[in-house]
């Protein structure tokens, strides 16, 4: 009715990419990608792969690619708001140690 009909071939292609990315993320986790120095390297790689997989599902399986701009705005707002939550909460926890009065134990 409104969306163009996505060819089956494209769906199967996307699925293949998703499987490949899953295998990739599992393999990547088995190696210390930061070479012992950069602790967050593995996390960054894992998140990047996850975001890529999610993007493929959202764009093609959920038809966002063919959806009106308003849908993009809704989704963008949701993602952005989650980032707000994360950033401001972490702003508290990460800056507590800057003042040498009380330390947050570990």
């Amino acid at each position: 009715m409104t969306h163009p009909i996505v060819p089956v071939r494209l769906y199967v292609l996307i699925f293949g990419a998703l499987v490949a990315l899953t295998v990739l993320t599992v393999l990547a986790s088995l190696y210390d990608l930061g070479g012992g120095r950069l602790h967050y390297a593995n996390a960054i790689v894992a998140v990047t792969i996850a975001v890529t997989k999610a993007a493929l599902v959202v764009l093609y399986f959920m038809h966002l690619r063919y959806s009106p701009r308003l849908t993009w705005v809704f989704l963008g707002a949701g993602a952005f708001w989650m980032v707000i939550l994360l950033v401001l909460v972490m702003a508290d926890f990460l800056t507590r140690s800057w003042l040498p009065i009380a330390t947050w134990g570990g």
Binding site: T2, Y11, T22, L33, V57, F61, M62, T71, G78, M90
Partner: protein
């Protein structure tokens, strides 16, 4: 106004408006789900930053094979769900039924494997609470990790069960000839929900299972 489809609700001017409104409504609901799971992820990220050791230890006690299999199962169910919507768009009733059934089956496989994992954790005394036992200085942080594990995968599983219910409802509707190329909105909207639940797992899997496999 042209003859109205039986599913055309009175508050809408056209079937197109009804379709756009229904899908926009589901997207709005999915935004609320982003914030719902977002709260859990935010809490996890705070703790994993400061309790890296304990959380890594906990993560290593999750079965990476079962986790990976489950990820692939759920991705497969997204493919079958997309194929179901595709069939509905083309008015292919029997194919729609088959793909809905496949999606449901894969979803149930996922839940079954999850159940197996949960029972393993129960036997290994890794369920938080009075029965928790872990021989290490990091035991308390590991218990914190498993609190998140059960809360997050439990919430996800709950959403999958709701999704399974929706799929059954769709299968009944399909059998009764409710959907056609002119009207398949419930299929599309359920599809959006199902894909979202898949996306939550796409993030849950590395977050919980792959914290520090290289150590």
């Amino acid at each position: 106004m042209p003859e109205t489809h039986p599913a055309h609700a009175h508050q809408f001017e056209t079937p197109e408006q009804q379709y756009e409104v229904s899908t926009l409504g589901m997207w709005a609901f999915l935004v609320t789900e982003i914030m719902f799971f977002g709260g859990l992820f935010a809490g996890f990220i705070v703790y994993v930053t400061f309790y890296a050791q304990g959380f890594a230890e906990g993560s290593r006690h999750l079965d990476i094979t079962l986790g990976t299999v489950n990820t692939l199962v759920l991705l497969g169910s997204s493919l079958t769900m997309a194929m179901a919507v595709h069939s509905a768009q083309l008015g292919r009733r029997s194919r729609l039924l088959i793909f809905l059934a496949l999606t449901l089956a894969l979803g149930l496989v996922f839940l079954g494997i999850k159940g197996v994992e949960y029972s393993h954790k129960f036997h290994e005394h890794l369920v938080p609470g009075p029965s928790f036992r872990f021989d290490s200085a990091l035991a308390q942080n590991v218990q914190l990790f498993f609190s998140f594990y059960f809360a997050m995968t439990g919430m996800h599983a709950l959403h999958m069960i709701v999704g399974a219910g929706l799929l059954i409802w769709l299968m009944v509707g399909t059998a009764r000839g409710r959907f056609s190329t002119e009207y398949f909105t419930p299929v599309e909207v359920t599809g959006l929900y199902w894909h979202f639940v898949d996306i939550v797992w796409i993030f849950l899997f590395p977050t919980l299972y792959l914290v520090a496999r290289h150590q």
